[in-house]
């Protein structure tokens, strides 16, 4: 936002409307924090953003219905990107979140960053935000290398990040939230509350929303919280605005409002980085796209000329792993039947069944309601309508005890929080769900516990020091095996596993896959939730896909492909039909 007050230009057919100095619209507060980007690069420093918005984007008269703006080629006048990440890498412990991430953001463009879950998008965002520093590679502002030591440094450099979950101060007023750290001052450095309020009101007018700057921000809807975050970005000399899945929690009307704001920001010369799983939104609002896969940038291009299929292919295109399922016999009797299960606002009308010896995989994006369905089946969460039937008997609602008694085992997504008692030993954790069998006269027999744990450790090829070590000393993959052992010890008829291989190394991953297939071979019904498509495709006998709380597709093992699943998960299917 180099030139305050230019915002109103976009939607105005009258060219005079884009003249600077919209009265009251421009919050020119920033004498305190006027952070010209370090080294304004080869382009003439003064002419930066203003010149870009005028000359570069050929869009002053935007058509009255902005929903059908063609993706105009908006390569801006300045050849130097506002902000670039060049061959960046970032690891957390043994996990390589980003291997080779590159992205160029130009002023005046909305730039999409897409990729599957776990492709490294969030880590890239955090590097741009100064939250993480790259292990290798560079961050360039206007072509000059910079190091962002923290969020404050990124803000000073003109980078604003709007996280998926907005980060406001619930006890403070909306106006205070917007101006925190750079409040307008009176004499003796006192905060000018009145000016803060009027400027906030002016910002909301400019964004076209009705929000009271004087109310505390507790209780604002997610959409309104995002608007406050955007207003915050507008008060600074913001050059780059990063929006991490801003539309995930918004209604259609709110998305339309957000897109108007994005267009205005773009017209104003800012670079907008837009992260979304909804490809139709990407095509609606963005001019260029960067696709990430497995921690690396695999495509950076103009959007014009690309199709949704092209993007999906770029997001997916990897070597198919070895098929492990399929050579088993026919599945047996039905173990789990779910009929029209509904929880208001979370998932709707979910019907599915799992038979003995069958692995049913549930795919979908994070937040599509998959884990919530599993939690409802196991009785952790309530549901509003529908039935869960296990081996012909209807299961009591919201009772994990009843679910366990009916023979269900549940391996949750977050094993550290929900699956293990981290301070207890390996042996105790393995035995935890089977204590009734290891007990005599109310006391757990230590010898029986040890024998039981040793047996399972061998069967699962668990790598451990001593069985009495705390389970927190094991690697992530082996911790997952302990959770599996804990449930397998009960001899379940149905095993629900949520993201069974998240964050574990490849070798152990293969162990876990083998184990699931072997269990199915022994007649256990397995219901697996996974975000990793190769896993879904290789392990699942049948594959169900959820999108926004509903089942949208079902494929047999033979029919399924990554493209089909992604399409069903992102809604491209409905577009195509």
């Amino acid at each position: 936002m180099g030139a305050d007050g230019h915002a109103a230009g976009a939607g105005q057919p009258d060219p005079a409307g884009s003249a600077p100095g919209q009265p009251g619209a421009g919050p020119s507060v920033s004498e305190q924090s006027a952070p010209s980007p370090p080294g304004s690069g080869p382009s003439a420093p003064g002419s930066g953003p203003a010149a870009t918005s005028g000359a570069g984007t050929p869009d002053p008269p935007v058509p009255p219905d902005p929903a059908h703006v063609p993706a105009e080629p908006a390569r801006p006048a300045s050849a130097v990107p506002r902000l670039s990440l060049v061959h960046a890498a970032k690891s957390f412990g043994a996990v390589r979140a980003v291997v080779d991430g590159s992205i160029d953001l130009y002023g005046g463009e909305a730039h999409a960053l897409v990729g599957e879950n776990g492709a490294g998008k969030s880590t890239v965002v955090k590097m741009l935000a100064g939250v993480h520093q790259p292990d290798a590679g560079q961050l360039l502002i206007e072509g000059q290398p910079v190091v962002l030591s923290g969020p404050a440094a990124a803000q000073a450099a003109g980078i604003a990040v709007i996280y998926q979950e907005p980060t406001l101060f619930p006890d403070l007023t909306v106006a205070e939230n917007i101006f925190m750290g750079q409040q307008p001052l009176l004499a003796a450095r006192r905060i000018d509350r009145r000016l803060m309020r009027t400027q906030s009101a002016a910002l909301f007018d400019r964004l076209g929303v009705q929000l009271d700057p004087g109310r505390i921000s507790r209780g604002l809807s997610i959409a309104d919280q995002q608007i406050v975050e955007i207003a915050k970005a507008l008060t600074r000399e913001t050059q780059v605005i990063v929006m991490d899945e801003p539309t995930a929690a918004l209604s259609a009307a709110e998305v339309a409002r957000l897109f108007d704001v994005v267009r205005a920001l773009r017209a104003d010369g800012a670079a907008v980085l837009f992260i979304s799983h909804r490809l139709e939104e990407v095509f609606e609002i963005c001019q260029r796209v960067t696709v990430m896969r497995d921690g690396s940038t695999v495509l950076a291009s103009e959007l014009a000329g690309l199709t949704a299929d092209d993007l999906v292919r770029a997001m997916v295109g990897r070597d198919m792993p070895q098929r492990t399922a399929g050579e088993r016999g026919q599945p047996g009797d039905e173990v789990l039947r779910v009929e029209r299960l509904t929880r208001e606002g979370v998932f709707t009308d979910i019907s599915l069944h799992v038979r003995a010896g069958e692995i049913v995989a549930l795919a979908g994006l994070v937040g599509s309601g998959r884990s919530e369905v599993a939690r409802a089946i196991f009785g952790i969460d309530r549901y509003d309508a529908g039935k869960v039937i296990v081996r012909g008997k209807e299961l009591r609602k919201a009772s994990p005890t009843a679910a366990m008694a009916a023979g269900i085992g549940y391996v949750p997504e977050d094993r550290r929080q929900q699956g293990l008692v981290m301070d207890m030993s390996v042996q105790q954790n393995v035995a935890l769900a089977s204590l009734a069998r290891l007990r005599r006269g109310g006391l757990v027999r230590s010898a029986a516990e040890r024998a039981f744990a040793t047996d399972w450790a061998q069967r699962l090829r668990l790598k451990y020091g001593r069985l009495t070590d705390p389970v927190s000393m094991l690697s992530g993959g082996n911790q997952q095996k302990v959770v599996l052992a804990k449930w397998l010890g009960r001899g379940p008829a149905l095993l629900i596993v949520d993201e069974p291989t998240r964050g574990i190394d490849i070798a152990t991953k293969a162990d876990v896959h083998d184990l699931l297939v072997r269990l199915a071979g022994e007649g256990v019904a397995i219901f697996m939730i996974s975000s990793e498509l190769p896993e879904v495709l290789s392990v699942g006998d049948r594959i169900l896909v959820m999108r926004e709380g509903r089942l949208t597709a079902e494929y047999s093992h033979a029919d399924a492909s990554e493209e089909k699943i992604i399409s069903a998960a992102t809604g491209q299917l409905e577009r195509a039909r």
Binding site: G11, F169, D171, R215
Partner: protein, 350 residues
């Protein structure tokens, strides 16, 4: 953008924005005036039973007691608002009171100002230690200040031994500090009131003050907003410690006889005052003025029970009941407020 402005203004009218602000303001005003109402009712009842409570001597006694607690409450407010707690202040009061008062006996003719500076220095040292451990060591403040509570009290007992400072060793000018006044209102109370006013204004109207509230309201967001969380929290502890040091010197002037028990348990009284005065125990909201009024209320109750001849054991029970009432009220208000604001924002949003 202008196209959007038009549509929004057509769909959503102005009224919600105004009424929503009124609502928040009204609630906050009620929050602080509520304590004042309780105070007035309590004084009125007490005076109607025992008119002696309105005498100049009693008023002076209550105000003199309140000054020390109200001053401590200012420092504690800064700490609690940032979602921390300082438990060490009672011990600091004790150590500072003994060391500063004993100086009069050891160094003849020592200026009173120097004695105050020594007290302030002792408090500042403890406050800095607390601040460093919380801000840099990332140790929860509850643990850190519980430890310094014991350490400083232990140090105090070590230094004092079986001794005590007695009134005769203190210069008259020193003893007069909490007593001199007009119409039963000590000058000191006026000075302290002014200091609290300045403190409250700082917390309300300066960036660094608001940042303390921001930190208490959402520490993670404060970090993401680029607020130097460590520095602010450190400062709050340093100020709280320094204030406790000064309060210790005032304690010596007020009570004149100082042994190793001085200030024991003050931290809990001060925290109770702060919470009764409307400062949220988990940070983010409340004012230093409210905290001072909370201190006044608790000390008034204390004296009133004495005047009425009710067993002082009731004092603590009543303080506890008030605390519960304050917390319950806070909870009810915040639930009501959240629900009301949510309804309003839903009305605006659709």
């Amino acid at each position: 953008m202008s196209a959007t402005v038009d549509t929004r203004q057509e769909t959503a009218g102005k009224p919600p924005r105004i009424s929503s602000r009124r609502l928040t303001e009204r609630v906050f005003r009620i929050r602080e005036s509520g304590i004042i109402v309780v105070l007035i009712v309590f004084v009125a009842i007490t005076v109607s039973i025992q008119p002696r409570f309105a005498s100049q001597q009693e008023v002076q006694f209550v105000l003199a007691n309140t000054t020390i607690f109200a001053l401590l409450a200012l420092g504690e407010t800064m700490v609690i608002v940032s979602r921390n707690v300082d438990l060490s202040i009672g011990s600091v009061v004790g150590l500072s009171a003994y060391v500063s008062a004993s100086l009069f006996g050891k160094v003849h003719g020592i200026p009173i100002v120097v004695v105050f500076l020594v007290g302030l220095g002792i408090g500042l040292a403890v406050g800095v230690a607390n601040g460093l451990m919380v801000a840099i060591g990332r140790v929860p403040s509850l643990v850190v200040t519980l430890a310094t509570l014991y350490i400083v009290r232990g140090l105090d007992i070590l230094i004092v031994g079986g001794n005590e400072v007695v009134a005769q060793t203190l210069p008259n000018a020193f003893i007069q500090i909490p007593r001199a006044g007009v119409y039963g209102v000590p000058y000191l109370a006026i000075v302290i009131a002014a200091v609290i006013g300045v403190g409250a204004y700082y917390l309300r109207s300066y960036r660094s003050g608001r940042e303390l509230y921001a930190i208490g309201s959402n520490p993670e967001a404060a970090r993401l907003a680029g607020i130097r969380v460590g520095r602010r929290v450190f400062t709050a502890f340093a100020v709280s410690g320094a204030i406790a040091g000064v309060a210790g010197v005032l304690w010596a002037a007020q009570y004149q006889t100082v042994d190793s028990n001085a200030g024991t348990g003050y931290e809990l009284t001060v925290i109770a005052s702060v919470v009764v005065g409307g400062v949220a125990i988990f940070g983010g909201s409340g004012s230093a003025v409210g905290a001072a009024i909370g201190a006044l209320l608790l000390q008034t109750i204390n004296s009133a029970l004495y005047v009425l001849g009710i067993s002082p054991f009731w004092d603590q029970a009543i303080a506890g009941a008030l605390l519960l009432a304050a917390i319950t009220l806070d909870r009810i208000i915040s639930l009501r407020l959240t629900a009301a604001l949510r309804r309003r924002s839903a009305g605006v949003g659709t």
